[in-house]
Amino acid sequence: MVTTSEARVEAAFEELAVERPLLSKVKEFARKQPLGTFGAVIVLVMVFSALFADFIAPHDPINNSYEHILESYSSTYLLGTDQFGRDILSRIIYGARTALLVGFTAAIIGSVTGLVLGVASAFFGGRFDLLFQRVMDVFMAFPLIILALAVVSIFGTGIQNVIIAITIPFIPRCARVVRSSALAIREIPYIDAARANGFSNARIILRHMVPNVMAPFLIMITAFVGQAILLEASLSYLGLGVQEPVPAWGLMLQGGAEEYAESAPWVAIWPGVAVSLAVFGFNLFGDSVRDTLDPKLRSQ
């Protein structure tokens, strides 16, 4: 039973998503967004090393080798070894896995939860919205790193808790943005039309509101991945993140790296470069996605 108003709405969406050959889309993106393309290349390299770490890493990243403590660059150890004689290059390659796992999981869970809550808040409005906004205010007002510190202290360290710690502060940030976009849509007549036609709340939310807040949502996700990688590194640096012997960039920079920064600079430099490049790549890419999807949307 397709009504005319719904058909019209859906037609409008389809128009937005007209299929064009993927390659030409990529070409256009590359032409318009050279920085974004550079970012995308970094991200792809990172994804590649994470997926195929087992094949490209020259050594076992957690294999201690006490005869080769803090060795400089050599043909066996291209980027040298750390204080346990582990190959830095291999640890960086495997570290991409940890970074992406934490980055993507936290970003996706955080923004999807934020999306659902934000849309629901906008849709139901009234007291629910008011209450919900206050709860979000509380979480927003908590400095990000402080919230993360508390979560890790309560649940302990380990990769899944790091993900929780990083995810929680993302939720209100995403919910905020999504809510205001959704609020704007809520006032648009076609939602009223849908409601007048007796569609269920769930259907209206899922079919009409959610697709319309997709642009800010995607922008948030790409921004979050970079932030999550950086947060993971910061938490590990404070000793609250991923734990030894898991290869992770922030962890590699913690402790030893500082003490050896001078006599064994490779221990301190390369993981730092890896974190910086990764976050740089995600941010460049995310910025371009933002420009492409919504040139008017401002920060956050």
Binding site: R134, F142, P143, S234, A261, A268, V279
Partner: protein, 323 residues
């Protein structure tokens, strides 16, 4: 307008209450307490009886609700109580560090502004040229480089270069002096973290300046001005920049609020005795009363800054008041 302000003020109350409840119970969920840490923390012999005495002294043996009421009612009358770790008044401990955090926040905000406005302007005017790309890449790099890593590199870099040039290694002082007492001593310590943090925080402001300026540049009166043959430079200085400043100022204001409580990592690296370092210390020593007070201070600063921003916006754009 007054009605709007009142409404916004009332809405602050539930946020504060919520934050108080959240932090209080969050802390109680963390296993372990300050007495255990004090008595057994150094690995010396620890007697359970002594730990119990210490707990009783700090009131940790009372029911959670009693403790919560004590904290909350104290907070209402600005009585923050005593630190469980040092036994000193919390207002005294926070006051000491507040000065430093405030100074670093101001200096970092200044640095961020000094970087962001010129760069953002250049980037907007030269949109989609290599200059624009370079500026954007430079500012994004600021977000990408972990602040702790940058901090270590700065200190190490200073030590190595000064030793190479002057023979004796030099590093910034590691203890705070008030700028009123010793201005250069103060600056030589704080300029480094301020620049490191300012660079980082300039990224968002640069972006805002760029996009706000681009938007204004497209507007009609600018086009008219251009059509009239006014010089580009003049247009940008006189018209465009002024009109695009509001969102930029907002972003800078909000970030300033974050800086007041959010320099956790930077303060560690540069050994700054600020609120961030105090926070890490009080969390890691399970100093409940201090952590609670600190979080409430940070939340208050944040809420109040938001409130000011909202009021300014409402004042400038009356539509918001009725939304």
């Amino acid at each position: 307008m007054w009605q709007y302000i009142l409404k916004r003020l009332i809405l602050m109350i539930p946020t504060l209450v919520g934050a108080a409840i959240l932090i209080f119970f969050l802390l109680r969920l963390i296993p372990g307490d300050v007495c255990e840490l004090k008595m057994a923390g150094a690995g010396l012999y620890a007697d359970q009886e002594q730990i119990d005495i210490c707990r009783a002294e700090l009131g940790l043996d009372r029911s959670v609700m009693v403790q919560f009421w004590e904290f909350f009612s104290g907070f209402l009358v600005f009585d923050l109580g005593k630190s469980m770790w040092t036994g000193r008044e919390i207002t005294y401990e926070i006051g000491l560090r507040f000065q430093l955090s405030l100074q670093v926040a101001i200096m970092a905000t200044l640095t961020a502004t000094l970087i962001a406005i010129p760069l953002g302007t250049i980037s907007a005017v030269k949109q989609n040229t290599w200059i624009d790309y370079f500026v954007r890449a430079f500012s994004i790099a600021g977000i990408a480089i972990p602040s702790f890593w940058l901090g270590i590199m700065i200190i190490l870099g200073l030590l190595i270069t000064t030793q190479a040039w002057f023979g004796t290694p030099w590093m910034p002082p590691i203890e705070y002096v008030s700028p009123l007492e010793d201005f250069w001593g103060n600056m030589s310590q704080l300029i480094w973290p301020a620049v490191a943090t300012g660079y980082r925080y300039s990224a968002v402001a640069t972006r805002m300046t760029r996009s706000a300026l681009l938007e204004v540049l497209r507007e009609d009166y600018i086009r008219t001005a251009r059509a009239k043959g006014l010089m580009d430079k003049l247009i940008i200085n006189r018209h465009a920049l002024k009109n695009s400043m509001l969102p930029v100022v907002t972003v800078i204001g909000i970030e300033f609020a974050f800086l007041m409580g959010g320099l956790v990592v930077t303060e560690q690296v540069f050994n700054l005795n600020g609120l961030g370092k105090l926070f890490v210390e009080s969390v890691t020593s399970q100093d409940f009363s201090m952590t609670q007070a600190l979080v409430m201070v940070v939340v208050c600063v944040f809420i109040f800054t938001n409130f000011l921003v909202d009021i300014v916006y409402a004042w400038l754009d009356p539509r918001i008041r009725y939304a």
